[in-house]
Amino acid sequence: MPVFVFDDKQSMTLKTTIHEKIVLKGIISELRTVCAKIMSLGKTLNYSGDDLFAIHLAMEEAIVNAVKHGNKQDTNKTVSIEYDVSPEKMDISVADEGRGFDSTHLADPRLSENIYKMGGRGVLLIKSYMDEVEYSKTGNTVRMLKFNSRHGKTGGQQNGLDSSTSS
């Protein structure tokens, strides 16, 4: 269950942090309900339309990749989505039960030899739209960070994926 932490003034705008881990069967429509929940939290926390569009797109691509490429559409395999959502940033991980892949050796879909290919753009979009993206060594978990552009211009230097995040 999400935990709402209020500051002294009982304001949701400063210290609200929600942490949740949800494990579901690898069915895209079910996983999208988690995405919808995160979108709803983002709206409540006053994330901008551009930020929410970016998070929505990255989650959609990550979920589809996890189900289709990771779990190979095996609905007995699960996908877990873990998130920390605060007014400052969203830290979202999507993990599948597949063999993983090396995201650094993917073909660049922007190159002329690939541009007419039907697929292969999901990881590029995730990396482009999120502020920080990290794949696990096993390659079956993607962790994505998006800062709330309305929450000051704190950037990702001291609060990024390399530092620990609290929930």
Binding site: R32, G49, D50, R121, G122
Partner: protein, 117 residues
Amino acid sequence: MEDVKPRIGVYYAQNATIVTLTDEKILEDEDIKALEESIIPLIEGHVNLVIDFSSVQFLSSAVLGLLIRISKKINEHKGKLKLCGISSRIYEIFKITRLDEIFDIHEDAKKAMLSLK
């Protein structure tokens, strides 16, 4: 039950067929497959096609694959494909993937039609 998707409008102009996508979001595999099945019969033979995105607020990379399939089909018959009404947020997806360089994108259907003259 949800509405039957995808909802598209088809208009026949003098020198082009105009397909208007009326759903705000295009994500589901079923929707993309249904869109393809609706559009492919329209482009058998030499056809200029304009796809109007002005109602679309969200799409994923799966739609880009569909557009490439449509584009290839149209090119086979020496027709032309024009996209229009793409919101600034969705246009960014085309820019990032550099598909803005291979698709002919116009502000609205009128300008897309003018470009065919």
